[in-house]
Symmetry: C2
Subunit: 352 residues, 2 copies
Amino acid sequence: MLRRFGSARAALDVLPRLARRGDRAKTVTAITRAEAEAEFAALHRAGARLVCWGEPLYPSALAMIEDAPPILTVLGQAELLQRPMIAVVGARNASANGRRFARDLAAALGRGGLVVISGLARGIDAAAHLGALETGSVAVVAGGVDVVYPEENRGLHDALATRGTVVAELPLGTEPQARHFPRRNRIISGMALGVIIVEAAARSGSLITARFALEQGREVFAVPGSPLDPRSRGCNDLLRHGATLTENAEDVLALLEPQLRGIEPLRPIPAVAIPVVAIPAAPHWPTPGVAQPIGDEDVLELILEKLGPTPVAVDELVRQCQLSAAVVATLLLELELAGRVERHPGNLVSLS
Amino acid sequence: MLRRFGSARAALDVLPRLARRGDRAKTVTAITRAEAEAEFAALHRAGARLVCWGEPLYPSALAMIEDAPPILTVLGQAELLQRPMIAVVGARNASANGRRFARDLAAALGRGGLVVISGLARGIDAAAHLGALETGSVAVVAGGVDVVYPEENRGLHDALATRGTVVAELPLGTEPQARHFPRRNRIISGMALGVIIVEAAARSGSLITARFALEQGREVFAVPGSPLDPRSRGCNDLLRHGATLTENAEDVLALLEPQLRGIEPLRPIPAVAIPVVAIPAAPHWPTPGVAQPIGDEDVLELILEKLGPTPVAVDELVRQCQLSAAVVATLLLELELAGRVERHPGNLVSLS
């Protein structure tokens, strides 16, 4: 929108008109200036800040994924988001051995220079956060950064909010719901150079994270386990399909070594909270917002006639319409705002 | 020798002369007819028989390995040796879970039409034999077939000697020694379509069997385990290097399916011992023993001048001498009998 209309003001002005174009029942409107200011005040009270796509603190790996969140809410040490990161995720009903392994692994990865990301769930996630608390631990949560879930992780949430980092795509105060978790998982893998799965049953959430990692071109590591333990089923299955067998941090660091070369080791993080600035700096868009001369209704029709109820790849649309990828992306955004286009995983779109 | 000299009689006659040629301290002589007859009588008393390379009962997969044993002593159901076989081997100090897994796996492989081979050791080997006793279980032992080792497996040895099969390369009465075990392991892998490793520490005997399997072009299967269990180290390492991850019999049967097509499932083996004939039929040599016109000392010299203290591949010798592989093999045998050539793993030879 910024690229198409040249400025935030122009984009906001055109928004209601674009949305009216379709048959969308619900109109799309920007929030008011007062609402925005209230939100910033709430962030300030929570000690949180916003980090927008294109800003220096926005994780560079995450910026490159197809559906990167435009805004992250960040609590704690936002600077950790600039370091190379590795995700450690796994079963909530993890075994004692699995928890111990995850904690030791996370600590060793931290000593090796990696910030450890996880999902602040029970079991493996909590153990991984704990192990990396000294060296850098980032939780990506499914609800708002100020909503503690599950309750048993309140202490860990507090520790991460000061010594580590808590990140969310959804606004403050959002209660996490089932449908939020897979969306959250794409951020965990998207921020990381790779994802390590420690204990995961067949068809578990950790495998969703692994699938996102593959789609995003990230490394997938899996910790093997006995065939007699159902919590190993998912990991062994990943190994069968080419994940890197992982018995210790060296297995991970060796594979990532080319990407880590020249990165200095982490300094331990002080246990004292560092005050964070709640109001973000002005966004730096990678390509400055210059209005592009995109065709009008004709071009929109060109795209619409190529779309049907069956999802089609955006790349395929670009090829068939003989338009630039940027133009197609902008037009699809308009159609989406107008409620006429629906998005599907894997960069697919269909008519609503 | 049979090929070179045309008959067993002629080969035996020339043996002392060949051995004298070198500087060998110990002379090589054939045993006497009386000694041979005494050995056959002992085999008869033990209920055992000899199976020679080239005979129908000799396992066809084993016949194809580079250093196939010329004679096997067989106790029990020799017919099992004609069936497709799979090896299940692993740690002697196996966990209770590992044993249970091996036993269930062997039983399922048996139901799938495979005879299970193992080494009659404690732990995984014993469990595998036990699981396959109903469908076909073959023990390859390091000593003589009549020597029970370890003592705790006496009951299993007895059961295999009647309902299953016990096989040895070494003569009756041989007490197994440390150096016999690796040699025995090459027979286990050599008889099998593939080797499954269930629990194996780093640098354990099971990994020697896996290495033989690779050298012999057999499939290698490994059962994954927790990195916290040292008994999984060897298996996980094999997986890292490309072994097929194995959680159940289906994983094995699926991979071997092309080789098993058309094989009828095994009938359960009756618990009653079937008397075996102790005196073997005359050997059927794949190529009948016709004296081949091989050159004399000149050719031997040609080979000797190409040999040094550093082991060289027999294939390389064949290429460099421009002789047939059969001729080089026969001449190397002569030089070996004369104590002038030493063999090394991987079909390498050097001067003694």
